[in-house]
Symmetry: C2
Amino acid sequence: MTSIKLGVIGAGSATFSMGLVKDICVTKGLSGSHISFMDIDEERLDVVGKLAPRYGDQFGSDLTFDTTLNRKDCLMDADFVINTAAVIGHQTQMKIIDVISKHGYYYGRAGVGSAYYNLKLMMDVVRDMEKLCPEAWLIQSGNPVFDGCTLMTRESEMKIIGLCHGHYGVHKVCRQIGIDPEQVTWQAPGLNHNIWLTHFIYKGEDAYPILDEWIRTKGPEFWKDESVTTPPEKGKDVTTIPASEEADPDFVAAAQRKAWDIDLSPAAVNAYRMYGLLPIGDTPRRLSWWEHTDLATKQRWLNKPWGGQDSHVSHPYYVRRLEIRLAEIARLAKDPKADLLKAIGTSKPHEQQIPIIDALVNDNEGRFQVNVPNNGVIKGLPDDVVVEVPAVINKMGVQTYMAGELPRSIMLNMIYPDWIRMERTLHAFKTGDRAMLLWNVLDTHQTQTYDQAIGVLEEAMKIPEYKEMAEYYKWPEKWRSIKL
Amino acid sequence: MTSIKLGVIGAGSATFSMGLVKDICVTKGLSGSHISFMDIDEERLDVVGKLAPRYGDQFGSDLTFDTTLNRKDCLMDADFVINTAAVIGHQTQMKIIDVISKHGYYYGRAGVGSAYYNLKLMMDVVRDMEKLCPEAWLIQSGNPVFDGCTLMTRESEMKIIGLCHGHYGVHKVCRQIGIDPEQVTWQAPGLNHNIWLTHFIYKGEDAYPILDEWIRTKGPEFWKDESVTTPPEKGKDVTTIPASEEADPDFVAAAQRKAWDIDLSPAAVNAYRMYGLLPIGDTPRRLSWWEHTDLATKQRWLNKPWGGQDSHVSHPYYVRRLEIRLAEIARLAKDPKADLLKAIGTSKPHEQQIPIIDALVNDNEGRFQVNVPNNGVIKGLPDDVVVEVPAVINKMGVQTYMAGELPRSIMLNMIYPDWIRMERTLHAFKTGDRAMLLWNVLDTHQTQTYDQAIGVLEEAMKIPEYKEMAEYYKWPEKWRSIKL
């Protein structure tokens, strides 16, 4: 039994933070620990600050908590730090996507995303940690995990693990094809958001034939299903979702769940028949450009009616659902009589953060899916690229492994291009070279002409929320001196 | 002085073969050598078979020659082999491009090129050499040099050097900006058709400022120039080029020269201002998708009026020029009184093949631009990838070198993607996996939808000249069993 200090950066995400509180309460080995919640949003932080000790009391734990707007206070002498912060929120992301779509792109960022801000925050956190808690582990839980963890582990000696939800997609696959996830062992290595089911064993036998049977007999029906609802028209303001729907969070949740059910979408199955392995979690969501050109195409590849989670109809629903859940949690915080154990639950941890901490400090060994430097685990990738692979974690640390290799076709079509994209992102971030941003836009398949790329890049740089980024990224000297 | 046996595969290219004869005649150290010309086209081979000994006689050399339709005879006991063969000729390439353009592509192969045939021929030649002349050097002079030399050097222990004309683009740059190429030292390393001018020294000083001055003062005028002619309309059959033009090879040659003058095109200069280094030779021709979407766009980036050498107007002119030149050479072969020394010239070698042989056998050391396995010369690329780099060649062999590194932005945007494309080509070639071909089509920027990719791939596979390839490339088993 070891009490720790856990710092949480970006703790204003109340769902995430209260999930952590629940997980640490049910983990006896961490009793007596202290959690310091930090966020820059005072109002949202306040919700967590009220709920966490009340949940702890109701649970009967001896955990202690504080909240702070000051990152340094949160990190000081921490044993573990969880960084879940996203600098640019969902509402702003939607605004940015709107600006970009005016240049002829369907609901996306045309290669001018906001990675700059999260990468900068990650580096700021890790530099602070080097001074304030140099022995602590950083558990990076916000995106971009692949780019960010590669950057941080190259630049810093801190101990860093990146985590993502995506691999739980295997459980969704199991439930979909009618086998008990608890009876399944599996491996899905790769890069974050780009992982592939190399091992899929149900009760000791290869489960891929069960998947094949499902695809043959159930797939066509599943792909036709439009049961949830008809999504609203393009351009419809999400705030105009009828009051009846707004009042029914179950509807929004069900609709949203449907949008996320892409694990066995035609896109996923097409990749499976191309490569022989099923893409897992967020992987089907970003297999290719050709799934994302418009809503009808998304519906074809990522299921009807939502076309996956990145369409102009499903994304606003997702954000709306987050807002509804946030409002619910805020209501809980205002109601001193609320039964928090019932509202938040007392189930064993689903997320990996707390069990990993328990494994590291109490030697309560477990198997996890982590993002750490490759160091030879995935053949054909450099050692200093962060990969997502299975690991055994115990008091001795993180021991990664992987049985076999990824098929060469997956390496060539999916892994290498993503690796190089990541390297381009980091090079752009480190040099502030705007020509690298331009290249990124040009490399976006929906870009049809050079002038379109220049146009969307220049307009993106005028978005108020991109101001700091626009000042940072400068054209190379030769670019400025040569007129074409 | 050492006499050798040189085997030439694809010798029916009379211009190339007679250039070799001229080069070897003027290279005193190789007197007494024997050249064996091999081709599968008896008629074209016959032209070379008649001209070569007559040129040798007129020159007063003691070289001997034979021609053969049998590759094994050509290779038997050879000391050097030059492979310049292209399995699918220009006329067929134009036919293939026509089929493909019907699917919505502008004058290209949409990722379904004929690399399969040349790669197969290269491997056949190198396997024959292992048996018939295991100590010989292979000088690979036909495309794809990058893919093919990487394949052969991985699969075989034979000594292999790949050569290309592209690096002579530096001389064209020098002449364009008004400096004497003989007073310039330079380096342009990279991958074949993807090389970058890292060192550009005129009379001991950096010549890039001279280039900058030319861009500033002369560039705009040069880019506007449409002096040669107005190209014919799209779809116009090249055989309908007026007789007056056909009778005037100078016109066709001048027009074609203009199409090839892309060394300081806006495309090249744009890359220069983006990366700080000038792309050389064929590099500006394949910098990006956005230069090639239609004729007007090609004219913008690769000069007016031809839009570079890969447009629907310039390519037929190029092929026509080749035919005219071939006809001229055939006429020479029929005229026993022709002054071949005058017609073919007696200048010192411009091509690298014979001087390299002279360096290897007579220790007549020289500096060359070669394609050989990287082995650490370009940092960041595996050892077994063939790179194009400077080399000193003498009796001890090929010693490659490179001063410094390529800029990281060039590595990330230009070199790595090309490396991975090459690996995909080789993987497809080795496995016969049709899904890899599909990926290649999908990866082509002009592809707008998945169905378009399937459509063009299926139609390309029905082209009679692609029959063997279509039989070789099979869909993966899962692809065949799963219907979507």
